[in-house]
Structures are given as structure tokens and as C-alpha cells.
């Protein structure tokens, strides 16, 4: 963490190299998240680039009370919302799997990837909350900060998201079993 703090200070003084080192560990996770929210791989890459540029430009506004990843994800989500009117796909609107960048990046499996199911079944915000909780291991407090929602909203919607995905997962498992037993 102290290393992160020193990198932040160096980046604030204008060191792009320090900033690159600082965000090095977050880039892949951010790209993976943005990929699930974009209509193409190129859009996700553009969104990542915009997120990092904005983060560097406004690094002075970073509040140390937040985790750096929380701040980065907040910028990323704001970028996604801003780009949505231009090119980004609304979760639940993807019906054509041929154009879905996520479908191209998922290894062949005997069951549907739960995140594809989440895109179909959950709203944008609940999807983001689920991702931040179960992939990025963020606390409820951090998630509510990223999404600019109350902690109780986050808790309730995480629970709803879980219920929905749990039901879908159990349904697909039951279908697989019935296929296996004829």
C-alpha cells in the first residue's frame, strides 16, 4: 500500500511511468469488466483507455479514504454510462450471440457462463454490483461508493442478483442432469 501511495504521489507530480506502474495490476480486471459491458472488443479497449486517461488527468481529486481500485471502477462505470448512448450495449439487449464480444472470449464449456446469464437477467447496476462483489472482492461499502447507492440498496440488490443467478444455475444443472439420464 505504501508503494501504491508513493506511486500516486509520483504520478500526481506528472510521472506517466509511475501511473502506468500504478494501474498495471488493475488493467486486465478493468478490461474484463468493460468487455462484459461493451458491444465490441474494440469498444472495451477504448473504454479502458479513456478510463486510464481520465484517472491520470484527475488524479489530484483522488481521495485517499477510498481504495484506489474503487476509484478506478467508479471512473470506468461513469465512462460506460457516458458511452452507452453512443455505442455500448444495454445489458439484457444482447440477443445476437454472433456480435457479443463476451461470447467470443469465453472458452467452450458444457454449461452457459454465469456472466452471460447475468447480462441477460440483471440490470446494469445489479450486474456491476455482482461483478464488484464476486470478482473484485469489494465490500458492500465500496460497491455502494462505486455505484453511488446506499449500502442497503447494494445489499438488497446483491441478494436479488444472487437469487436470480442461483435459480438460473440450478435450472441449467437440472436440465443437464435430465439430459444425462435420458
Amino acid at each position: 500500500m505504501s508503494n501504491e501511495n508513493s506511486l500516486i504521489e509520483a504520478a500526481k507530480r506528472g510521472s506517466a511511468t509511475a501511473f502506468t506502474d500504478l494501474v498495471g495490476g488493475y488493467r486486465e480486471g478493468l478490461l474484463r469488466f468493460l468487455l462484459t459491458r461493451s458491444s465490441s472488443y474494440a469498444d472495451a479497449e477504448d473504454a479502458l483507455q479513456d478510463t486510464l486517461i481520465n484517472a491520470y488527468r484527475y488524479l489530484h481529486s483522488y481521495d485517499r479514504r477510498w481504495r484506489f481500485s474503487t476509484w478506478l471502477y467508479r471512473i470506468a462505470i461513469n465512462n460506460v454510462v457516458r458511452l452507452k448512448s453512443v455505442d455500448t450495449v444495454e445489458i439484457g439487449d444482447i440477443h445476437d450471440e454472433g456480435n457479443d464480444p463476451l461470447a467470443h472470449c469465453i472458452a467452450a464449456s458444457d454449461r452457459e457462463n454465469l456472466w452471460q446469464c447475468a447480462r441477460r437477467e440483471l440490470t446494469d447496476e445489479v450486474y456491476s454490483a455482482m461483478w464488484l462483489r464476486y470478482v473484485e472482492d469489494m465490500s458492500v461499502k465500496d460497491i455502494s461508493t462505486v455505484l453511488d447507492r446506499s449500502a442497503s440498496w447494494t445489499k438488497v440488490n446483491l441478494m436479488r442478483g444472487r437469487k436470480t443467478l442461483d435459480a438460473e444455475f440450478n435450472k441449467s444443472t437440472a436440465e443437464d442432469k435430465s439430459k444425462a439420464y435420458g
Binding site: 504520478a11 500526481k12 506528472g14 506517466a16 501511473f19 502506468t20 488493467r27 486486465e28 478490461l31 474484463r32 468487455l35 462484459t36 472488443y41 472495451a44 479497449e45 479502458l48 483507455q49 486510464l52 486517461i53 491520470y56 488527468r57 484527475y58 488524479l59 489530484h60 481529486s61 463476451l102 472470449c105 469465453i106 472458452a107 464449456s109 457462463n113 454465469l114 456472466w115 455482482m130 461483478w131 464476486y134 470478482v135 458492500v140 445489499k155 438488497v156 446483491l158 441478494m159 444472487r162 443467478l165 442461483d166 444455475f169
Partner: protein, 131 residues
């Protein structure tokens, strides 16, 4: 970590993506051309600023008082309100009986409130167990 959480994590890792060298170069090049914007610092105001502000405020107040004193007070004449004497509403005799059969409904409300309370407690327990 429960089964669903594990599946979510595994499925996220199954999304195969990496920051390409091309993208890396693009990001580095973009960052080189940017300088972080400093926060707008609030410099302490000088004595002359406060003196000038005070003078302006006093002058504005004096001007307002002078204008207010120059104006003669206006007397507002309100026209007399006509009293409605022509219309007299006929009295309607209402024949209503007090409802006496409210006991079953009250019981039902109590039952429903109790059900809601139980449901709230169940949800709260579920949430506390999960997070």
C-alpha cells in the same frame, strides 16, 4: 465462499482477455501527452479585497435605504366583498348508519401486519447471513 460465488469467480476467469501490446502502447502514448490537472487552490484573499467588498456592500445598503425613503407610502384600497345573500343552499338530510362490522377487517389487518413483520425479519436474517 459458497458454491455460487465460486462459480461466478471461475466463470469470470474463463473470460479470456488480455491487454494487447498495441493497446498498451496506445495508452502509454496517450498518457505521455497529458499532464495531471492540479486542484484549483483557494488563495487567501488580500486586505484590499475585503476592504473593497465592504465598501461596495455599505454603498449598496445606503442606496437602497435612500430609495426606500424617497418613495411615498401607497394606500391600498380594497373593494368591499359582495356578500352572497341571493343563494341559500338547501340542507340535505344525510341518512347514514355507523358501520358495526369492522371487527373481521381489523383482525385481517392485524394478521397481515404480522405476516409483513415476519417476512421482513426473514429477509433481514438472510441478508445478515450473506453479508
Amino acid at each position: 465462499m459458497d458454491n455460487l460465488a465460486k462459480k461466478l469467480r471461475t466463470d469470470a476467469q474463463a473470460i479470456d482477455c488480455a491487454v494487447s501490446e498495441d493497446l498498451d502502447d496506445r495508452i502509454r502514448a496517450s498518457l505521455q501527452g497529458i499532464t495531471p490537472e492540479p486542484l484549483a487552490s483557494s488563495k487567501p484573499k488580500s486586505f484590499s479585497f475585503w476592504f473593497a467588498s465592504s465598501l461596495t456592500g455599505v454603498a449598496a445598503a445606503a442606496a437602497f435605504i435612500a430609495i426606500a425613503n424617497l418613495r411615498t407610502p401607497e394606500t391600498v384600497v380594497t373593494p368591499p366583498m359582495p356578500t352572497p345573500t341571493a343563494f341559500v343552499l338547501p340542507m340535505i338530510e344525510l341518512k347514514a348508519k355507523t358501520a358495526v362490522l369492522t371487527a373481521p377487517l381489523e383482525q385481517e389487518i392485524k394478521d397481515l401486519q404480522s405476516d409483513i413483520k415476519k417476512a421482513e425479519e426473514a429477509v433481514k436474517q438472510d441478508i445478515d447471513r450473506l453479508f
